[in-house]
């Protein structure tokens, strides 16, 4: 229960702490029993992380469902997770690498591009899934209670499998170009986490907005496309003039992509300030998204 709630009769909480009984007679509550209080939404932030933890089983099944149904009734199934990025890589390498002769940090362009494509494909997919997740699960949302944040969370997590599969393709590419993994690969989990949190942070905003304004769904393709060109996917960030670099870093995907590229190949160490800016902006987006989502959560079942 939120601290101090015993003094204010109408706490803006639906909480599940077992002991703070308030008005209930002691006999009514066995201490192991879950207990919650229902009251009108109020207050700025009352995240209930313990509740989210209690529903980890549901999170597991939602991720499992997403993965299960993703390639149902396809002939080649999860191979799509390899073919899609591979074809994209071929096309981009042809146009940007061969024809436009884009600089690539001293790496073969396919490797240069694929290192960015890995996090980018994951991010754009996760973001789009997260955005639609509340609307797609409308029936469940209006019929069953669970912490709603589980929906965008599961959407973001289930994309990791595809990322893993396309990573196998990357290993093949590395062999093909005879490039060795550097020690920096140890940093990969950190950058992966940054990618997940970025997708979740933005996804929290967009999924809640999409529940109210269905327009979001139509804005998404443009947003994703625009975002891709604003990120160093097909070009290195060294192409951006030095004095605008910080602004570039405000796009959190810059940090993620540069970080991936560096972690996977040891080439193109990202600028420290740029990384810091990315991490900072992600933290802000994520926390604000959490607050916004939690505020929307109280009415989502009424408006979705």
């Amino acid at each position: 229960m939120t601290q101090g709630s015993e003094n204010t009769p109408q706490v803006a909480t639906v909480d599940s702490s077992p002991s703070v009984g308030g008005a209930l007679p002691a006999s009514a509550l066995s201490l192991q029993k879950p207990f919650y209080r229902i009251a009108p939404p109020q207050g700025f932030l009352d995240l209930n992380l313990r509740e989210v933890w209690n529903y980890k089983g549901l999170l597991y099944f939602l991720v499992w469902r997403d993965i299960k149904i993703r390639y149902k009734q396809t002939a080649i199934g999860a191979a799509w997770a390899i073919i899609q990025p591979f074809m994209t890589m071929v096309i981009f390498s042809l146009f940007f690498g061969k024809f436009a002769r884009m600089p690539s940090e001293g790496l073969p362009y396919p490797i240069f591009f694929y290192t960015a494509l890995l996090p980018w494909t994951y991010f754009s997919g996760a973001l789009q899934n997260a955005t639609n997740t509340i609307v797609e699960n409308q029936r469940v949302v209006t019929k069953v209670f669970f912490p709603r944040v589980i929906l965008p969370l599961s959407a973001v997590l289930s994309g990791l499998l595809d990322l893993g599969i396309s990573f196998l393709m990357f290993i093949v590419l590395m062999f093909y170009y005879r490039i060795h993994f550097a020690w920096t690969i140890l940093l990969l989990p950190g950058f992966l986490l940054l990618a997940v949190v970025t997708a979740l942070g933005v996804g929290l905003w967009l999924s809640a907005l999409n529940a109210i304004y269905r327009d979001v769904r139509y804005v998404m393709p443009f947003l994703v496309q625009l975002w891709m060109f604003a990120s160093p996917v097909a070009y290195p960030s060294s192409l951006v003039p030095e004095r605008w670099r910080w602004l570039f870093g405000l796009n959190p995907m810059t940090g993620v992509i540069e970080g991936f590229r560096w972690a996977l190949t040891g080439h193109g160490k990202p600028h420290g300030g740029l990384l810091l800016a990315s991490v900072g902006i992600v933290a802000v987006i994520f926390c604000a998204g959490l607050v916004y989502f939690q505020r929307m959560e109280t009415t989502i079942a009424d408006v979705v």
Binding site: P9, Q10, V14, G21, G22, A23, L24, P25, S27, A28, L29, K33, P34, F35, Y36, R37, I38, A39, P40, P41, G57, L58, Y60, F61, L62, W64, R65, K68, I69, K72, Q73, N137, R139, V140, V141, T142, K143, V144, F145, F146, I212, Y213, R214, D215, T298, T299, A301, D302, V303
Partner: protein, 405 residues
Amino acid sequence: MSSIVIRAEGLGKQYRVGERERYLTLRDVLMKVVGSPLNFFRPAQTELMWALSDVSLQVEHGEVIGIIGRNGSGKTTLLKILSRITRPTTGSAEVSGSVRTLLEVGTGFHPELTGRENMYLSGAILGMSKREIERKFDIIVAFSGVERFIDTPLKHYSTGMQMRLAFAVAAHLEPDILLVDEVLAVGDLEFQKKCLGKMEEVSGSGRTILFVSHQMNQIRRLCKRVLWLEGGEIYRSGPTAAILGEYEGALSSGQRNQGQRSTGTRTKARFVRWQIDGTESDSSNFLTTMGAVTIRFQVEVLAPIRNGHHGIALYNGERQLMWGWAKENVQLGPSMHEFCYTFPTLPLRPGPYSWQVSLWEDGEVLDMWDCAPDMIIATEGHQHPQDEWNGILNVPCQFEVCGGN
């Protein structure tokens, strides 16, 4: 003090009218801004309605409470608030114990997944742990009766099979408190009976259940106490038989063409009141037995009647005549009299009925009275589980399969 597991005080829920139906689009908002730029920044002038207002209730551990009321009276909203799907606008509630909600069956089913996979998914969405589902897997499958198709994608199931599987999962929830919306109306008769039996079993095992239904016989079977919602407020609450009787009376009174309550000159004689023998005064119109019953109609005679003629009729809630009878050559002196009727049984399905008694002399109506209050038959129903198959009579019977070699 007995243990109270749900305590709600002054629960209210306000909706914007049409909020649930309409999708807001940015265009709508922009149009609003362009159309009247100033208004946009003022508080919205949309019409508000209270789907639920000032509902207070206490539910004790192990109680099975029926919630009745017309469509839109706030039944589902109440369940949604108690289960935390939506928050109340006013009021507060405290709930202790694990709560599972069943607002529809098959929540979270996915057509591409197999029956087995859907069982796990639906179970998880309804709040079961993976281990719990694994443990009950065989029972649930057996209950559903779709064993053969358990590894077939759900999209190849018939609607009935989907419902069976869905309910089978839901029926094996084991929360402290179960909130059930109108979900027992699914499936074929056989399965409905199974579900109802399961619900009885669950309610017998000391769980607390709040149960919304339009099927009065289900409420009668399962619930001891009933909450009647009307326009978002608790209109009545109390013992099942009494509340249901009144509720059914109210439902049918809208259709009844009552006319005059009483006709005739009422100068020589008039009916004063009626009652069922052996009842308390505040429930003298409640018939609770299938056995013999005596009903008394009191008539005040002001002048001697030599060639009287007495008629009686019993109507049901839809003003269909159930029974009629008459007696000629009735002689009455000026005094208070009672017409006593004894029936070995009144085998009528539970619900509201009205007596009509009359007294004539020489073709002239002395008094004809549509007896008030209505007679409420609140006996146990021996009826088909689906209301549309309920007949007029309420006949207890024994069934067995005889013969056959």
